[in-house]
């Protein structure tokens, strides 16, 4: 099966830092930011996006529609 590659974007204007994505991602893709953004929220950072399985949990459950998972390319075959 081909392994797919994903990019994750978090909209800085929309995220309110509820951290639901951080808690529910099965691949621990997100980490809690230690930097406060312009709006006063700690927006998660998708530091391990390369581990993303494309399950879409974060995009679907985000209460602010701030998270998008985008399939970027197919990177070769795996067993």
């Amino acid at each position: 099966m081909a392994k797919k590659d994903y990019q994750i974007y978090i909209d800085q204007r929309l995220c309110k830092g509820c951290d639901i994505c951080v808690e529910l991602c099965g691949k621990s893709v997100f980490t809690v930011s230690d930097k406060i953004n312009q709006k006063g929220y700690y927006v998660p950072v998708p530091v391990n996006a390369s581990d993303c399985s494309g399950c879409m949990i974060c995009e679907l459950i985000c209460p602010e529609m701030a998270v998008v998972v985008v399939e970027t390319e197919t990177i070769g075959e795996t067993a």
């Binding site: 974007y9 909209d11 204007r13 929309l14 309110k16 830092g17 509820c18 951290d19 639901i20 808690e23 529910l24 929220y41 949990i57 679907l60 459950i61 985000c62 209460p63 602010e64 529609m65 701030a66 998270v67 998008v68 985008v70």
Partner: protein, 273 residues
């Protein structure tokens, strides 16, 4: 890079007015995903809401025609809309207080008539917007602002009530069950007749804070822990099912639809006179 489904929202009003971690936003998110997957044109949808935080899900955020009505009366208004515009998809999204409290009679009678509307009832256990007063959906013994020593009443099982009243589709999911809920919204939108989904949703501010579940994620974890799929009911005793959330599809069937029946009657009368 922004969300491809923001095209369904009035983006000038974002971020939403919902509290951090509130389930109302997840319902809006899944509603947009369902609309997109069904390839529905927002111009063909009329959303009707009442009063409460959950009533803000389509109005003002969903960029289609919306009717923001008085507390409890969204189904009554939606009935009028559907009778006059049967070609439109009519969706009601409102809270447990709105639809099962003050508007409870509209709910059961619309189900009995089997009028072709889709109703998403966002059950966050309380009157969220006004500060967390007890509602007909508050669990037994739960502390709220108006039941500080515990709720002496028992909640409605709303999805079962609506199924018994005559709806052709009734289901219950939570904002934790995103894939099931998205599928259910699609099924309900496509169903001819009264289609109902009770959605357990987190209100960390007016409910969670009082019961030691301060963050949205804390309530989501409770939903995960306390849900039992209707398919597995037999594995549990009645005692074990106390305080569990039974999720799944309560009913799916077909019955003559109200607006069509009304049109048939009108036609007959016109022909005879």
């Amino acid at each position: 890079m922004q969300h491809h489904l923001l095209k369904y929202l009035r983006t000038e009003l974002l971020p939403t007015a919902f509290c951090t971690g509130c389930g109302c936003g997840t319902v809006l998110n899944l509603f947009c995903h369902a609309i997109d997957e069904l390839k529905l044109d927002p111009d063909d949808i009329i959303s009707v809401t009442g009063i409460g935080c959950s009533s803000w899900i389509p109005s003002p955020y969903f960029a289609g025609d919306t009717l923001h009505t008085t507390h409890g009366r969204s189904i009554a208004f939606a009935t009028g809309v559907k009778v006059m515009k049967p070609e439109k998809k009519v969706v009601v999204i409102a809270g447990d207080g709105d639809l099962s409290g003050i508007g409870g009679n509209h709910l059961i009678h619309a189900a009995r008539r089997n009028i072709d509307i889709t109703v998403l009832l966002v059950n966050n256990y309380v009157y969220g917007m006004t500060g967390g007063q007890v509602s007909p959906a508050t669990p037994y013994e739960t502390s709220t602002t108006t039941t500080p020593y515990g709720n002496p009443e028992h909640p409605f099982e709303i999805a079962e009530l609506v199924a018994a009243a005559g709806s052709v589709y009734s289901a219950r999911w939570t904002t934790y069950h995103i894939f099931h809920l998205k599928k259910a919204i699609k099924e309900a939108m496509n169903k001819k007749g009264f289609a109902f989904i009770e959605i357990f949703s987190q209100c960390p501010t007016s409910y969670g804070r009082r019961v030691g579940l301060r963050e949205g994620i804390d309530i989501l974890k409770e939903f995960k822990k306390n849900s039992v799929n209707i398919k597995n009911l037999k594995k549990f005793t009645e005692e074990e099912l106390e305080n569990k959330i039974v999720v799944g599809k309560m009913i799916e069937r077909s019955r003559p639809e109200f607006v069509e029946s009304l049109q048939d009657v009108n036609k007959k009368v016109m022909e005879e006179t």
